[in-house]
């Protein structure tokens, strides 16, 4: 496979994953605004931070308002991480690697783009937002479904999956990092109403508020939430799960090519760290420090992969 094709697949799936995650973030943000008496536009500060676009937002807006933040996250062309930008980049990458995709996968991607381009052509009315977010998630789900149902399990599949999970690990760690202080044990062990509310919002951002209940008997506890999103291998958006997948896909490539790269060592080390770790240790050594370190190592892995597999000239 061409290095450029591997690169295109990797980024196609990173962008589609990101689009969906941004939609989840907006969804969680809207939920906060709905349920909290006296909610303020400032709630969107955290959402923009989680999306990694807080500073960029200030460059185009004087004031932080809910409506402007939602619009910026969903459809602003100047925001490289807006849902529309992600879908645009994702589809452009898909066009570039068109020959590596099945017809189903390409068409699901193209239809997602066609549909969202129309729906996101103008600012959405607040009453239309829930449906809009559902459509975004639905469309991304269709791409994933077509991909899983029709693609050969070969190198094409591996690079696509690696892109998906590096992006997802990045998203989950950022969401946690923005809110890490509400999870610190020094604040409280048993949640106040406000804590409960904050914690639920974190879980909602990764669509895990229901599944949490199944794993931890319902009670919100800071350490459990951190454990769920970092170390729980059963949780499909946890860092541990992402690294299970990344390592196994890299492993397929290693066997297939008979070549091992620096990326393999980097990934193995991160996976081992997550496997070894206990949430008490992580909390004791500092959750924020842990997450910062993780984000850096995740980025390093991305760079190692693009070098090892000759993504660029």
């Amino acid at each position: 496979m061409l290095g450029r094709t591997a690169n295109g697949l990797y980024w196609m799936f990173r962008y589609i994953e990101r689009a969906e995650n941004i939609a989840r973030l907006v969804d969680a943000g809207l939920r906060v605004a709905l349920t909290r008496a006296g909610s303020s536009d400032e709630d969107w500060d955290g959402v923009l931070q989680s999306a990694g676009v807080r500073k960029a937002y200030d460059q185009v807006h004087d004031k932080l308002t809910a409506a402007a933040a939602v619009d910026y996250l969903l459809r602003d062309e100047q925001n490289p991480s807006s849902v529309m930008s992600c879908i645009d980049y994702g589809r452009n990458n898909a066009r570039m690697v068109r020959t590596a995709l099945t017809r189903e996968t390409w068409e699901a991607t193209n239809e997602c783009w066609i549909d969202l381009k129309t729906r996101l052509a103008r600012q959405a009315k607040p009453t239309d937002l829930p449906e809009l977010i559902d459509v975004i998630k639905h469309r991304c789900g269709l791409i994933r479904g077509a991909f899983h149902g029709s693609m050969l399990r070969n190198e094409i599949y591996n690079f696509s999956r690696i892109g998906t999970f590096i992006e997802r690990a990045d998203n989950t760690s950022r969401i946690l990092d923005v809110k890490y202080y509400v999870l610190l044990p020094s604040i409280s062990q048993v949640g106040s109403a406000l804590d409960n509310f904050q914690w639920e919002s974190i879980l909602r951002s990764v669509s895990a508020h229901r599944s949490y209940g199944w794993v931890y008997d319902g009670e919100y506890q800071a350490a459990n939430i951190a454990d769920f999103l970092i170390l729980k291998v059963q949780m499909p958006r946890s860092l541990a799960y992402c690294y299970e997948k990344i390592v196994s896909n890299l492993c397929y490539l290693e066997t297939d090519y008979g070549q091992r790269h620096k990326a393999h060592d980097t990934a193995d080390a991160i996976k081992a760290m997550l496997k070894r770790g206990s949430i008490t240790d992580i909390m004791d050594h500092g959750l924020h420090e842990f997450l910062e370190d993780f984000i850096g190592r995740n980025n390093q892995l991305s760079a190692d992969i693009s070098e090892g597999y000759r993504f660029y000239q």
Binding site: M1, L2, G3, R95, M96, R98, T99, E107, N110
Partner: protein
């Protein structure tokens, strides 16, 4: 203008023989049903992403080429005649290219002026004395043909560089078979679906002599922003070969190699869809980011096949076009089976004078233009447009040729009120290796505007599925 020849209906509104079955079928169709089918077709094209980019259009960078659901039908007899003429012409084109890059006998014989070749930008001195693998210059040709009567066909243009549109030929057929399967049991239509396989075979068979094993073929595209990108990816996909960009390729140890996830791997045959100018920044345009530095050295050393060969543009140049009857006769020893459209070379003073005096009857084209840009269609142009064009013409006469406006044949298209005749042309596709293969059919382009003669997709033209019937 004379009344155009309609390919489906006679003056008495009777269907001509090839259309008989289709016409009967059509008479039994419900209009609402066909309108729905037209929308279905558009949805298929949009979802599949069969789009092209129109340069200079800000509103939307991707457009669909309108597809008309009424096929254009050609009888086996008509096709045989056309195919013979096309084969003769394509063989002459290759012989001509071989000659002008070697002995130049046609110039020595005084049949073509020397300066027309040697001062032509499409003539590449780098190709002098070099014989491409198998002696083939134009691996893929698209011969543009128009019809004006029952048995009158003219060649409008020989596209010998990188003719495009073949993906539409294939997708149009695919769409028709999906929408109207019954039509293909009622009519015996010759297959076009084999084109990608034949293209790959044809390209593989012309791999460099040193190539061992199965030749590695790749399609070279300028990238996703090129207007024909869809076609490039489509062909690579259908042939099962890599789609590469210049940045994927590098000359290493005298071979052209592509950067893969496993390392650099050599390519034997490159079906390039970039122009000569951009192919090698070391040889041609130094600012080209689309090409591969040093590929011309590899080519000249016989270590890669480039299809079509660099420098083939000299054969389809509009200034050369007017000499095609002589060229065909010179190399095949027979009169050309297919006629040329009478052409005035504005570089010749007498012709220029005539053209300037008859602008409103003529079509004037730029010698190096394509895509319907920069041309004047006299009969439909305003007085002001004619006057402005006359100035350009007088300033650089050598840049233009002129032709009479032909009464292009019409084929009906489907409109909400029923059917209405529109002008069409035809581009059959030809593959050249040790033999010449002509795909039965081709791309029919249709001017959707009533009375319009411009069929180019960039100027509001559409396409039709083209059927060649079996005997």
């Amino acid at each position: 203008m004379r009344l155009a020849f309609d390919e489906m209906l006679t003056a008495e509104n009777h269907p001509r023989p090839p259309y008989k079955t289709y016409h009967d079928w059509y008479a039994n169709q419900d209009a609402a049903h066909l309108i729905r089918k037209t929308q279905d077709a558009e949805n298929i094209f949009r979802r599949t992403g069969i789009t092209f980019a129109v340069y200079g259009h800000a509103d939307s960078s991707e457009k669909l080429i309108p597809f008309d659901i009424i096929p254009r039908i050609i009888s086996a007899r008509e096709w045989r005649k056309l195919a013979q003429g096309i084969e003769q012409r394509v063989l002459a084109l290759n012989a001509f290219l071989d000659d002008i890059y070697h002995k130049q006998e046609i110039i020595k014989a005084g049949r073509i002026p020397r300066e027309l070749i040697e001062k032509n930008v499409a003539f590449l001195p780098e190709m002098i004395g070099f014989k491409p693998p198998g002696g083939v210059y134009t691996h893929i040709v698209g011969t543009d043909i128009v019809r004006t009567g029952e048995d009158q066909f003219y060649v409008l243009e020989d596209n010998a560089r990188t003719p495009s549109g073949v993906s539409y030929m294939l997708e149009n057929r695919e769409t028709m078979m999906q929408m109207f399967p019954e039509l293909f049991t009622l009519n015996k239509v010759q297959r076009v679906e084999d084109y990608p396989r034949q293209l790959r075979q044809s390209l593989s068979s012309l791999a460099p002599p040193g190539c061992k094993g199965r030749p590695r073929v790749a399609v070279l595209t300028p990238g996703i922003y090129n207007s024909a990108y869809y076609e490039h990816s489509f062909l690579a996909d259908q042939m099962g070969v890599e789609l590469v960009e210049g940045s994927d390729l590098r000359v290493i140890d005298g071979r052209v190699k592509m950067r893969t996830t496993r390392g650099y791997e050599a390519i034997d045959v490159l079906y390039r869809r970039v122009d000569d100018d951009f192919l090698d920044p070391l040889t041609f345009r130094p600012d080209s980011a689309l090409g591969i530095p040093g590929i011309m050295d590899v080519y000249r050393a016989g270590n890669i096949t480039i299809a079509n060969a660099p420098g083939t543009g000299i054969a389809d140049d509009k200034a050369i076009y007017s000499y095609m009857p002589e060229i065909v006769e010179f190399y095949t020893g027979r009169k050309a089976l297919l006629e040329n459209v009478p052409t005035w070379r504005c570089s010749e003073p007498d012709s220029l004078k005539y053209v300037l005096e008859h602008l409103e009857e003529l079509v004037v084209k730029e010698v190096h233009g394509s895509g319907g840009y920069g041309m004047l269609v006299g009969p439909t142009a305003t007085k002001k447009e004619c006057e402005e064009f006359a100035k350009k013409l007088a300033a650089r006469p050598g840049n233009y040729i002129a032709q009479p406006t032909l009464a292009l044949s019409t084929v009906p298209i489907f409109v909400n009120k029923g059917i209405a005749p529109r002008h069409v042309d035809l581009r059959p596709y030809v593959l050249v290796s040790d033999k010449v293969k002509i795909i039965p059919g081709g791309l029919t382009r249709v001017a959707l505007k009533q009375g319009s003669l411009v069929v180019n997709s960039s100027q509001g033209g559409g396409t039709k599925d083209t059927w060649v019937l079996e005997d």
